[in-house]
C-alpha cells in the first residue's frame, strides 16, 4: 500500500513527467482546450434555446426532458460512437460528445432564469412601452445573470470531469495519464494511476472553486440569495 503511494510521489516529483511531450502540462492544456470548446458549443446551443423558451413560455417541459434523456446515455458510449461517424477521431468528435452533457444544466438555468424574472419588473417594463425584445434584453436577461452563471459553472465542472473519459477512446486529455497507467498494469503503473487520479481530482476541484468565485463576482449584491 505504501509502495503505491511512494511510487505516486516519485512519479509526481519527476520533472520529466511534467515537461515531456505528452507530459502533464501538455495533457492539461489539451484537457482545458477540449473542455472550453465543449462548453462554448454547449452555450451556443443551449443559451439561445433556453432563453427563447423562457421568454415565450412555450415548451418548458423540453428542459426537463433533455436532462432526463442525457442522464441515461453513458458518456463512454457517446465518446465511442461519435468517432465512428463522419466526425472522425479526436477533437471533432470529442467536443460534441462533451457538449451534449453540458447542455442540460445550461438549458435549464437559462430557461428558469428568464422565466423566473420578477413579474412586477416585467409588467413595469411592458407598461413603460418596451417591446418584447427590449424586455428580454433589458429586463429578463440581466435578472437571469445569476442563474446563467450558476449553470455555466455546473456545465463547466461537468465537462472537465467528463473530458477525462476521452482518454479511453484516444481523445487525449489528463485522463490519458490514468488510462496509460492502467495499460501498464497495477504493479508497474500503480503509482502513475494514483498520481493521475490526484492530478485530475485537483484540477476539477480548482476549476470548481475558481468558477464559484467568478459566479459570486458576477452576481449583483441585490440578486444574491439572502442567507
Amino acid at each position: 500500500m505504501n509502495d503505491v503511494i511512494s511510487q505516486a510521489v516519485t512519479w509526481l516529483n519527476d520533472p520529466l513527467n511534467w515537461t515531456n511531450p505528452g507530459g502533464v502540462f501538455d495533457r492539461l492544456i489539451e484537457h482545458l482546450w477540449l473542455s472550453a470548446l465543449a462548453v462554448l458549443l454547449g452555450c451556443l446551443i443551449a443559451w439561445p434555446l433556453g432563453i427563447w423558451v423562457g421568454h415565450t413560455g412555450r415548451g418548458g417541459g423540453l428542459t426537463v426532458g433533455v436532462s432526463n434523456v442525457t442522464r441515461a446515455i453513458p458518456t463512454l458510449a457517446l465518446l465511442s460512437l461519435l468517432p465512428l461517424t463522419a466526425l472522425g477521431f479526436g477533437a471533432p468528435s470529442v467536443v460534441p460528445a462533451l457538449a451534449v452533457f453540458a447542455i442540460p444544466p445550461l438549458l435549464a438555468t437559462a430557461y428558469n432564469g428568464v422565466r423566473d424574472a420578477d413579474p412586477d419588473a416585467r409588467d413595469a417594463a411592458y407598461g413603460m412601452g418596451l417591446s418584447g425584445r427590449q424586455v428580454l434584453w433589458r429586463v429578463e436577461l440581466p435578472l437571469a445573470v445569476p442563474q446563467l452563471a450558476s449553470g455555466f459553472r455546473t456545465a463547466s465542472v461537468q465537462v472537465v470531469a467528463t473530458a477525462t473519459l476521452a482518454a479511453l477512446v484516444n481523445g487525449g486529455g489528463l485522463g490519458l495519464i490514468i488510462s496509460q497507467g492502467f495499460g501498464l498494469g497495477m504493479s508497474v503503473g500503480g503509482g502513475q494511476i494514483l498520481a493521475g487520479g490526484v492530478l485530475v481530482a485537483i484540477v476539477a476541484l480548482v476549476i470548481e472553486g475558481l468558477l464559484a468565485i467568478a459566479e459570486k463576482l458576477l452576481t449583483p449584491r441585490s440578486l444574491r440569495p439572502a442567507r
Partner: protein, 239 residues
C-alpha cells in the same frame, strides 16, 4: 474492406485500422445471436453492480440525510463533503481507489456508492425541509415523540422527494457503471470499450449502449412504480 464476421476477429494491422473506420453496420442481429452469452453476462454484471450500489447508497444516504436535517450543525459539512466527492471525476475516483482495493468489483461499487450518495442525501434533505411547520406543530400537539414524528410524519411526507433522488441516482448509476470498464468490471461498458479498442466494431458498441439506456429507463420506471405504490396519497392529490 475484407469481410469481418464477429467481435473476435481483429484486423492484423492496427495502424491501418485507425486510418479508416470499418464499414460494419450500426446494428446487426447476427452479432446479437452469436454473442448472446457475452451480452447476457455483461448485462447481468451491470444489473448486479447497479442494484448493489443503489442498495448500499440508499441505506447510507437516507439516514445521513435525516442526520443532516436533525442536527443543523452537520448539514453544511455533510453537503460540502458529498459535494467535493461529486466534483471528483469518476475515472479519477477509480484511479484513487484501484491501487488500494485492486481491479475488483468492490472498487467500482465503492465509487458508484459515493456518487449516488450525494444525490440521495440532497433528495432526502429537500423532502424533509418541505414538511410544513403546521403539520409538525399538529403532530407535536398530538403527543408525537421525536422518533414517531420522523417515522410517521416527516419521512412519509418527504417520500416523493426521496424517491426523486433515488430515481436520478439509479439512472446516473447505470450510466456510470460503464466507466468501471477501465477496471475490467464495467458490465456493458466493457463491451463498449472492447468494441472500440479491438476493431471499432459498431454493432457491439451500439448494442451495449442500447441495452444500457434501456436498463436506465427500466430502473426509472420500476422506481416510479414502486414510489406510487408506497405513496398512494400523492395520486389522489394529483387528481
Amino acid at each position: 474492406m475484407p469481410f469481418r464476421g464477429g467481435a473476435d476477429l481483429r484486423p492484423d494491422d492496427v495502424s491501418a485500422m485507425l486510418d479508416a473506420v470499418p464499414d460494419d453496420p450500426w446494428f446487426s442481429w447476427s452479432y446479437i445471436q452469436n454473442n448472446a452469452d457475452a451480452l447476457g453476462a455483461a448485462f447481468t454484471e451491470h444489473v448486479e453492480l447497479t442494484a448493489l450500489a443503489m442498495l448500499f447508497a440508499a441505506v447510507l444516504a437516507i439516514p445521513l440525510g435525516v442526520c443532516a436535517y436533525r442536527a443543523r450543525w452537520l448539514t453544511a459539512p455533510i453537503l460540502a463533503l458529498s459535494g467535493v466527492l461529486y466534483t471528483v471525476p469518476s475515472l479519477a475516483l477509480f484511479a484513487l481507489l484501484a491501487p488500494f482495493l485492486g481491479l475488483t468489483a468492490t472498487t467500482v461499487l465503492v465509487g458508484l456508492v459515493m456518487y449516488a450518495l450525494l444525490i440521495i442525501v440532497r433528495g432526502t434533505l429537500t423532502g424533509l425541509r418541505q414538511v410544513p411547520e403546521e403539520v409538525r406543530d399538529a403532530a407535536d400537539g398530538m403527543g408525537y415523540g421525536s422518533f414517531a414524528m420522523l417515522m410517521r410524519i416527516e419521512i412519509p411526507l418527504a417520500m416523493p422527494s426521496i424517491l426523486t433522488g433515488l430515481r436520478i441516482a439509479a439512472v446516473s448509476t447505470v450510466a456510470l457503471v460503464t466507466v468501471g470498464a477501465v477496471l475490467g468490471r464495467g458490465g456493458l461498458g466493457g463491451l463498449i470499450l472492447s468494441g472500440f479498442r479491438n476493431n471499432l466494431y459498431k454493432p457491439q458498441i451500439v448494442t451495449a449502449t442500447v441495452l444500457c439506456v434501456a436498463l436506465a429507463l427500466a430502473c426509472d420506471l420500476l422506481l416510479s412504480w414502486l414510489g406510487r405504490l408506497i405513496t398512494p396519497w400523492t395520486r389522489k392529490a394529483a387528481r
